[in-house]
């Protein structure tokens, strides 16, 4: 399998006044293109921190994080912004839709930022996506007029619409009841199957493991177990020149 994302001894230390908090203490993982991976672990073990680094939202303290061969770990803000724009889709626990805009406009904002020019209206991929997520008739509603489950499905559509290399979802079901959680998780699985979308999910919920083939468990800023250890990777091209 070809890795689409790879970290090498990735570390992140937060400074709070004089105290240093080592949130990540050397994380090395590989995620293959088209994988649906789950990251689990107790609170405070560094899952969100890892997601922020993988999503080019923050700078690592040391180590490497390669997306399609490009090291994003030490990039500056504008380079990371560019990576987010082109390669990443986020789904958050708290949905994070723009409250003043309709569902449709929220998705349009993501398309516009991604393409650099105004995109509104139909696109076969988007139509298919909205049908899959069963929100095609909700596009004119504001987030406040949608249920939590619906809001999260709009957020998923927003994350996926630009066909990012990776979708990162940090506790996407954390604000949902069990029925809606199940719907949302099923949709992630569908998206992964249908569009070969690479997805990394963070969860506290052990049941989620049932939805994914790949399960990475973290503890205290390191990977404790990874059921993808046995995967044989084709290391070639950019990954190889990056010295791996």
């Amino acid at each position: 399998m070809k890795p689409i994302l790879e970290t090498v001894d990735l570390r992140k230390t937060y400074k709070v006044g004089k105290i240093e908090v080592e949130a990540l203490r050397g994380v090395s993982i590989k995620i293959g293109a088209g994988e649906l991976a789950a990251i689990m672990g107790p609170s405070g073990c560094g899952k969100s921190t890892l997601m922020h680094l993988l999503g080019a939202m923050a700078q690592a303290t040391s180590g490497k994080a390669l997306i399609e061969g490009q090291d994003i770990a030490s990039m500056n803000d504008s380079e990371r912004t560019e990576v987010r724009r082109r390669k990443i889709g986020f789904v958050f626990q708290k949905f994070n839709l723009l409250p003043a805009l309709t569902a449709g406009a929220n998705i349009a904002v993501a398309r516009t930022i991604h393409s650099g020019h105004k995109v509104y209206g139909d696109d076969p991929h988007l139509t298919e996506l909205l049908e899959l997520l069963m929100i095609q008739d909700k596009m004119d509603r504001k987030p406040s007029e949608l249920s939590g489950g619906e809001q999260q499905r709009v957020a998923i559509a927003r994350a996926v619409v630009n066909r990012p290399a990776i979708v990162l979802a940090d506790e996407p079901t954390g604000s949902l009841d069990s029925r809606n959680s199940e719907i949302v998780l099923n949709m992630f699985r569908e998206l992964n199957r249908k569009f070969k979308q690479t997805i990394i999910l963070v969860t506290h919920n052990p049941e989620l493991a049932a939805y994914t083939d790949r399960l990475i468990e973290m503890r205290d800023g390191v990977v404790k177990s990874d059921n993808g250890d046995h995967i044989s990777w084709d290391i070639s091209g950019e990954m190889a020149t990056a010295g791996l």
Binding site: A58, T81, F92, N96, L98, P99, L101, A105, V109, A110
Partner: protein, 367 residues
Amino acid sequence: MKREIIVASLKARPVRTIVSVLAVTLEVMLILVVVGLTTGIRDETGRRMEGVGADIMFQPPNSSMFLALNNANMPVAIGDKIAEIEGVRAVSPVQTLVNSQGGSLEILYGIDPETFDAVTGGFLWHRGKMFSAPEEVVVDDWYARAKTVDVGDEVELLARKFKVSGIVEHGKGARLFVSIKTAQEMTGSINRTSLFFVRLEDSANTAAMIKRLDETFPTYPARDMRELASLMTSSSIPMLDAFINTVVFVAVCIGVLVIFLSMYTTITERTREIGILRSLGASKAFIVGMIFQESVFVCVIGAAIGVVGSFMVARLVQAMFPTLVVLITGGWVARAVVFAVASGILGSIYPSIKAAAQDPVEALAYE
């Protein structure tokens, strides 16, 4: 798309939007109405000067072209010498008085009706007749309308009661006319006058005549009335300019401060939204641009309302105070709009930079 975000956010916070727009409206109206009033009054004064119909205004040494600022005078007999010069058709002495009663500054002309008519070509009478007693006054139609006085009514000028003897068409220098004898007596300057209006046989000779008067009466300023009028209407008057600049400065400060406060509070409120946009890959420039566009949008709307409002105020002022003129020129409308937009840009520099500098992770975690 940015526009949709901007419009949505303006709609989502209607009170903030309305207050910001109103502040810019106020800024623009303050500029246009105050500038319009000062330049309007100056302009109208200039036109009234021109309306006198004289070619030359002859004044005693050290006098200003602003009649309200003068108290120097000269013997009436000088007028006879001027009248003897070839090419002079008529000379009329005018003793000016300034009435500051009732809050406004009005110039009274003490005139000699016969020579005044010879210089000006005579009043156009609406009602009544020329004063025939020391306690009588002739007023112009604007004054009559503004003070709602009619022939036979009493008015108080310089702590003295006058009876209105007649109402004339406006435009002959002053709005109020009394006999020169009365004016001289009131200023305690018998047989003296503050200026002469000189009418020539041929206006084309004005420059030559001024030269001649300058030679004959070296320290006495002789001014070309038409030049004087155009000076009043077009050129800058240092004191007035300073006043206008102050008003513009204060108005722009109001605009900048309100826009600053409005944008500053809104970016704090919208920290999370900014984090969301950044997570989607929006650049810092995108965020800065969005804040700038939002405040400029507010300013343009405020300016548009302000311009319309200023014209409405101008009309209202004219209806309520017929002696006041609000002159709103295209140049000042353009300037006021530029000032409004500039205050939007100035006011949002810091907030936009602050918004863009926020760490995306922290912004998303903001409650």
